[in-house]
Symmetry: D2
Subunit: 287 residues, 4 copies
Amino acid sequence: MSDKKLTAVLLLTCDDQKGLVSTISNFISEHNGNILDLNEHVDRDEKLFTIRVSWDMKDFAFTREELRSKFRPIAESIGANWLINFKEQKRRVAIFVSKYDHVLLEILWRHKMGEYPIEIPLIISNHEHLRELADHYGIPFHIFPVTPETKAEQEKRELELLEEHDIDTVVLARYMQILSPDFVSKFPYRIINIHHSFLPAFIGGNPYKQAYERGVKLIGATSHYVTADLDEGPIIAQDVTKISHKDSLKDLVRKGRDLERLVTARALQVHFERRVLVVGKKTIIFE
Amino acid sequence: MSDKKLTAVLLLTCDDQKGLVSTISNFISEHNGNILDLNEHVDRDEKLFTIRVSWDMKDFAFTREELRSKFRPIAESIGANWLINFKEQKRRVAIFVSKYDHVLLEILWRHKMGEYPIEIPLIISNHEHLRELADHYGIPFHIFPVTPETKAEQEKRELELLEEHDIDTVVLARYMQILSPDFVSKFPYRIINIHHSFLPAFIGGNPYKQAYERGVKLIGATSHYVTADLDEGPIIAQDVTKISHKDSLKDLVRKGRDLERLVTARALQVHFERRVLVVGKKTIIFE
Amino acid sequence: MSDKKLTAVLLLTCDDQKGLVSTISNFISEHNGNILDLNEHVDRDEKLFTIRVSWDMKDFAFTREELRSKFRPIAESIGANWLINFKEQKRRVAIFVSKYDHVLLEILWRHKMGEYPIEIPLIISNHEHLRELADHYGIPFHIFPVTPETKAEQEKRELELLEEHDIDTVVLARYMQILSPDFVSKFPYRIINIHHSFLPAFIGGNPYKQAYERGVKLIGATSHYVTADLDEGPIIAQDVTKISHKDSLKDLVRKGRDLERLVTARALQVHFERRVLVVGKKTIIFE
Amino acid sequence: MSDKKLTAVLLLTCDDQKGLVSTISNFISEHNGNILDLNEHVDRDEKLFTIRVSWDMKDFAFTREELRSKFRPIAESIGANWLINFKEQKRRVAIFVSKYDHVLLEILWRHKMGEYPIEIPLIISNHEHLRELADHYGIPFHIFPVTPETKAEQEKRELELLEEHDIDTVVLARYMQILSPDFVSKFPYRIINIHHSFLPAFIGGNPYKQAYERGVKLIGATSHYVTADLDEGPIIAQDVTKISHKDSLKDLVRKGRDLERLVTARALQVHFERRVLVVGKKTIIFE
């Protein structure tokens, strides 16, 4: 795609100081970019400046390669954490699954509808179950059975495959294995998991059973980035749904499935549209 | 009020067995009651029968006094836990407060609107702050300052006052003191607290700060019966609201206030309308 | 399936009169049925009695054929509208589609998950578009192209096909044709449509455009029974979602799709589980 | 208050053109303002540029009087509709009421909690009912009984009173009179009404009865600016709540009251915080 047809997206955070919006918007307009959407906020308690700005590159002075190098000195002068990407440049996504199909189907259907600016070159699983679904959507399906003995070796092979396909983001769509810290470190804030609970309540295994026994009136689901601390990564999206005493454990699982699909869909949308900035242990979502 | 104008409400739970609905509905119709609302459910996993039934006593054969003694042998024959009350017989409620006015105002306003079948003979506080609000609604306001040294003595005096006014239910409307197990045992499942968090997440002090630091995308509030286990009593109502990175800690407190009012209002409504049955550590809410 | 393994479901409405619950529950328990769930309510303004009761037929005295004939005299004596069905007896469902796949996929996936007690012997469409999806789920797909000239003839052939397959319920899953009053009359309260608006707002064509131009802050979707009055049939389920000025018309369509899937799923669940009773122009949903 | 302690808020819309964010942010930073929050969006279909930006005036070069005159030439050069206000400069609000207290109480309580940057110099009513509530919160209460004959004269006197008190915004808190077009024209987009329905459904009188009769599953409330077209003004906030067949008309009224309080609270918050821009018949809400 010609660089002229791109929309650039800058995500940036730094200590607050005067003139930051001017500095950034001048860089864009002086090089003939047209700002389409800008969302800036200063957290006065933390003195933290955060911004997401997107602009049309139709008449922009730089190519996408030049853009990053031209912006770097500015970012360095203000001590910023920053990322520049392009809305139309599709992120390359690998989906990891086990046996449950609902999250995978949700992603593949939305992808087919054109809701996400992504490509899905492959699906990785530790079981055969979802091969037919992958085939229906025309996505190559790779099996890596995992046992405690083979885990390290299999992860190594998976990583090679991800590298070979230039994968940007890994989505764990009810993948029932825990990735090693080494694997996780290769994709900082680019592995997304769905946890079937309103975190931090009911951390760990069988949250629906925990919820049922505690008699809560709402169950939830949480999508978060995977970090070395299990279930403690920055939260991207959460939602809840009502339950009553007429709901059996089986009903909770059914309602939970609907939540997991919905929360995954929202989390992926903001991640893929470059609306998420991680600051410390939290995310900032630019709606 | 004449017994003829009453609506009886039976709440009952026992092991499931055949013919229970017949037994109960025949008791009512044979004595000329007209069933207005009946909600029955069998939990097939737990083999537990639960029912709430209300009927018009216009032509009923028994007075309210007779009703309980006539029903007792039936309840005993099926091994039931049960309660019979009357919708129009107002529950006598004491509200405990400290300095925050929002939950108290919500209750007093709804009471004035006639939303609750209750009387509020008194408000108890450990501070002077809310006296003017109590006065505006014409409710006697009693101060019992509490220190670690005086707590046992003050609770004793409070209990005397509650007994003197024939209090049925105690509502802790952001009362910032923990009641002793002895006090709690006097009002089994008749003390209602509001916790400013989605339990069981963020148990304990300063839940908004915990939520802020964990970066959750929803904050919640929970209304529950007070038992000897702090924050572990059966949950009556819960709700959540969305938050974003633009919300400061102060915004969370404001949004939390709104949730606390809403969740308290719902919990009190079902409690006052005799729609709550406690089974083990959980509530069953008959909507 | 043996009648002994069935769960009977009675839906009934009539003018309120004393002893109705007794009459019905005695009929069940005297013939050795065990009531599993009963939800009864009297609308005191309308003096209308409504009930849904389900019971286990394991030890029941009658077969499913006998049950209806034995209950008929009772129903007639109280002047009731009533239906008896069996939870495990699968409803036979035909789905009508045009080009949009989202509602169809939602139904087929939930069906495959076992969420609905139904069989889907066929899908009818006026276009080829969704044949591959039908094939993937193994459902026969029939094309009936419709033009103003051929409509009457095609509906006749469709009705023959529906009769041949003993179809109980027709779901219009974004079927872009209006059925004739004659067709509709063959399936009273057994044709379900999804309208992409919060009825009665934005009746008629292009509701998202209407919503966009009016600047509403919420868009909705409504599932209803089809009657001769277009968009005026009894409402089964509704929901809404928030929108903002950043949402383009295309975003409204995307958010609307999600709503349509969700609202259809809820409406079908209560319809298939025999939780819906139509009274006048309204539905009563027994949750 | 010293101008140095103010936070300026600019709302602006114009045809999209390159460099607008730079132009605006440079104006601010060149005069030593620190931008705290900026939200900009271009509607590419309508080619419409919209922005809300707030900045700290601690070191700003201009006083509040100078600011507007200095910015005017810039605004004129880009053909903008614009407003500059100051977050800490309290809007002066008059509340119009009749007999219902719930919306008034909600506003007064939130005002007392410090949630709104406003002053309330007076309440106007056509009845005596809510005098005591006004007194409790210490707000002067003025009675203007209205009959068809006296309406024109009374409105004239009301306008004089509003002018005398330098009123900025009028809130109709269930005021049961229709204001004349002449009155409305004096406060363009500064009169806020709450309509007890999800507009545009159930326009006009008795919407709960209409909703009850249509059998909808949700009822709503809408807060909007008052224009000469009744119930057609730009919508500020909307919400809905679930209802069921067990809800009587009286229950709908109760649930509606809760909605009206909630929706009013949200609409006033965004209006008072200068987060609302009216474009054509719609509002843009900068969250």
